[in-house]
């Protein structure tokens, strides 16, 4: 059964029609590349899936059951994790605080629960290690480089075993070696049966890890096909509009 099924998704922001009639289905362990020009509606689509705002029209089904997310935590409860394009980090907190924000580890007795700082630092350190990032859990995010910040946002999706991970340009600001680690992570997620939607402008990355690629152009889905049946040239044509649809 599909982990995610979108049917007829549309989104209007006032007069702007950001999305129009988007259908999409994703099986467990399937990795989908979502491509499109700037402003095509990619971020809007994943934010709808992640519960940031409701679609103007259309239905979202997760594991077959229709969902109406009111806030991000609703989607998270359904096993949907997201790396936002702007990363959504609190600059004034440490890396570990950001990883655990909203699901802090606590210990204590009875009604008195206190933050388990050492537990969170250790767990965050392990997650950064897994990502081969030299991000230190106690550092303030404010003082971090783009790559370290991205590692924090990605580490956050690793706290639980999700069903679906949405990554909105997770490799936009990082070094070649770290891009490799992110792609490796996506492969591991796939092996664990977790579905992934990867938004990226980097054609080689998409062709390296994705099973399928969908293309959005001005709010409409113009292609959705197996990577094996397509080529970078065709996708580029679909993105720019040189090829109408496929």
């Amino acid at each position: 059964m599909a982990v995610l099924e979108l049917s007829g998704i549309a989104k209007h922001f006032g007069a702007i029609e950001a999305l129009r009639g988007v259908d999409l289905a994703l099986e467990p362990g399937e990795v989908m590349g979502l491509m499109g020009d700037n402003g095509a509606g990619k971020s809007t689509l994943v934010k709808i899936i992640a519960g940031n705002f409701p679609p103007s029209e259309g239905a979202i089904r997760v594991g077959g059951a229709e969902q109406h997310f009111h806030k991000p935590i609703d989607a998270r409860r359904q096993g949907i994790e997201i790396v936002y394009q702007d990363l959504a980090l609190c600059d004034n907190l440490t890396a570990a605080d950001n990883v655990f924000l909203g699901r802090e580890l606590k210990h204590g007795f009875g009604p008195f629960k206190f933050l388990n700082f050492s537990g969170m630092f250790a767990a965050a350190a392990e997650l950064f290690n897994e990502l081969k990032s030299e991000t230190r859990p106690r550092d303030l995010v404010k003082q971090m480089s783009g790559g370290q910040r991205q590692a924090v946002a990605i580490a956050r999706t690793r706290l639980t075993e999700p069903r679906l991970v949405l990554m909105d340009e997770p490799t936009a600001a990082i070094s070649v070696r770290q891009v490799h680690e992110v792609l490796e992570l996506i492969r591991r997620l796939k092996d664990a049966g977790i579905a992934v939607i990867l938004i990226s402008h980097r054609m080689p990355d998409v062709f390296a890890v994705c099973d399928r690629v969908a293309v959005l152009r001005r709010g409409s889905k113009v292609a959705d096909k197996l990577v094996a049946d397509s080529s970078p040239e065709e996708i580029t044509g679909l993105i720019t509009g040189a090829i109408e649809s496929a």
Binding site: L93, L115, E134, R136, D139, G146, S175
Partner: protein, 365 residues
């Protein structure tokens, strides 16, 4: 890609850097400096037990407000209406006791309920309209002050002062929680054994600790633990640092901020009850400009005006600095009216310290 290049370069945060990161550092340094200043210039009376308790009392009344203000500021909002809320809550409390003749416990509940309701209203207006809390609560600064004047005249038949409040509730079992001194037995016991100073008659010079000081210390302790050790505290920092990011991470930002407005208003109500019980009366000028003093104490205590950074313990020290300066000047030959000059100066130094010195020292961008 410039960001990527800096990626692997790591520097161990030095001890000094980590120390400089503590918000309350400046307030603690200020407290030490002010203590040294008065230790040299004031009569030695000031640092005896009775002298300390004398300046701790005004510090406590301001400090309870500053604790609320600092939590709210860390959460990224302001409340300029707390001073007027002290007057308004004083009116509600006084009228409950004298006009409605409610028992003390009910009068206190009514006062806190009213404060909580208006705190929630402040919060809801700010959150729903997206207007800066600075403006919304500035409106309530005037609204509460005006309501207090109108209400006082209405309740007393034309006066702006209401008397006879303490007499009405003096024999309530709850009264000792909100008025007078605590630990009087302990102090008498200590005096008997000559462990504290006594007058010639054998009566101790200090007969107890006034309850507002205990409220102040207790709330500062609870506030500090909540802010630094609990999940709610984490959420307050996150909400004040980047509300949108916090919301995306699953933090109930609106609930956190509304609660903070409620807590701030309830701190004002507590100060109102404590001061009305102490003086037995209330008047329209209660709490005048206390909102500014509370915010100054919070800023001296390390709170940033932009939110997401600060501490309760810092505000605690900040309020003690206030009390020390206010009372300390009377122990010196310095004209007391230098008080305001002194406070303005402290504020400037604190802001400078927070925004410039600290940023340099921690290398923050």
């Amino acid at each position: 890609m410039a960001v990527a290049a800096a990626d692997e370069r790591l520097k161990q945060a030095s001890f000094l850097t980590r120390l400089m990161r503590r918000p309350e550092l400046g307030a603690l340094a200020g407290l030490i400096l002010v203590s040294i200043f008065f230790y040299i210039l004031a009569s030695e009376q000031m640092f005896t037990l009775s002298g300390i308790l004398t300046f701790m009392s005004p510090a406590a009344q301001l400090g309870i407000l500053a604790i609320g203000a600092s939590l709210l500021m860390v959460g990224g909002e302001f409340d300029l209406s707390v001073g007027s809320m002290v007057a308004f809550a004083g009116l509600i409390f006084g009228a409950s006791v004298t006009v409605l003749q409610l028992p003390l416990i009910l009068a206190i509940l009514v006062t806190f309920a009213m404060a909580a309701a208006f705190g929630a209203l402040n919060g809801q207006i700010v959150l729903r309209t997206g207007l800066p809390s600075f403006i919304v609560t500035l409106a309530f600064l005037f609204i509460f002050r005006g309501l207090t004047l109108v209400g006082l005249k209405w309740a007393t038949g034309g006066s702006t002062q209401m008397r006879g409040i303490r007499e009405a509730v003096a024999d309530s079992a709850l009264a000792p929680l909100f008025s007078g001194q605590a630990f009087t037995g302990l102090f008498a016991w200590l005096a008997e054994r000559g462990m504290i100073d006594t007058f010639a008659s054998g009566v101790p010079k200090v007969t107890g600790i006034s309850v507002d000081i205990l409220w102040f210390i207790g709330l500062a302790a609870v506030g500090t633990v909540v802010l630094t050790r609990t999940r709610v505290g984490n959420w307050i920092f996150a909400a004040g640092g980047d509300g949108n990011a916090a919301r995306n991470s699953g933090v109930p930002v609106n609930r956190v901020k509304t609660s903070l407005f409620i807590i701030t208003a309830c701190c004002a109500a507590l100060v109102a009850i404590l001061t009305v019980m102490e003086t037995g009366s209330t008047d329209a000028r209660r709490g005048f400009q206390k909102e500014f003093e509370a915010i100054i104490a919070a800023v001296i205590g390390g709170c940033l005006l932009t939110g997401g950074y600060g501490s309760v313990i810092g505000a605690f020290f900040g309020a003690i600095i206030f009390g020390m300066v206010l009372i300390g000047l009377t122990y010196t030959r310095i004209d007391q009216d230098w008080y305001l000059v002194f406070l303005g100066g402290m504020l400037l130094i604190a802001v400078f310290f927070n925004n410039v010195v600290r940023k340099r020292a921690t290398g923050e961008r």
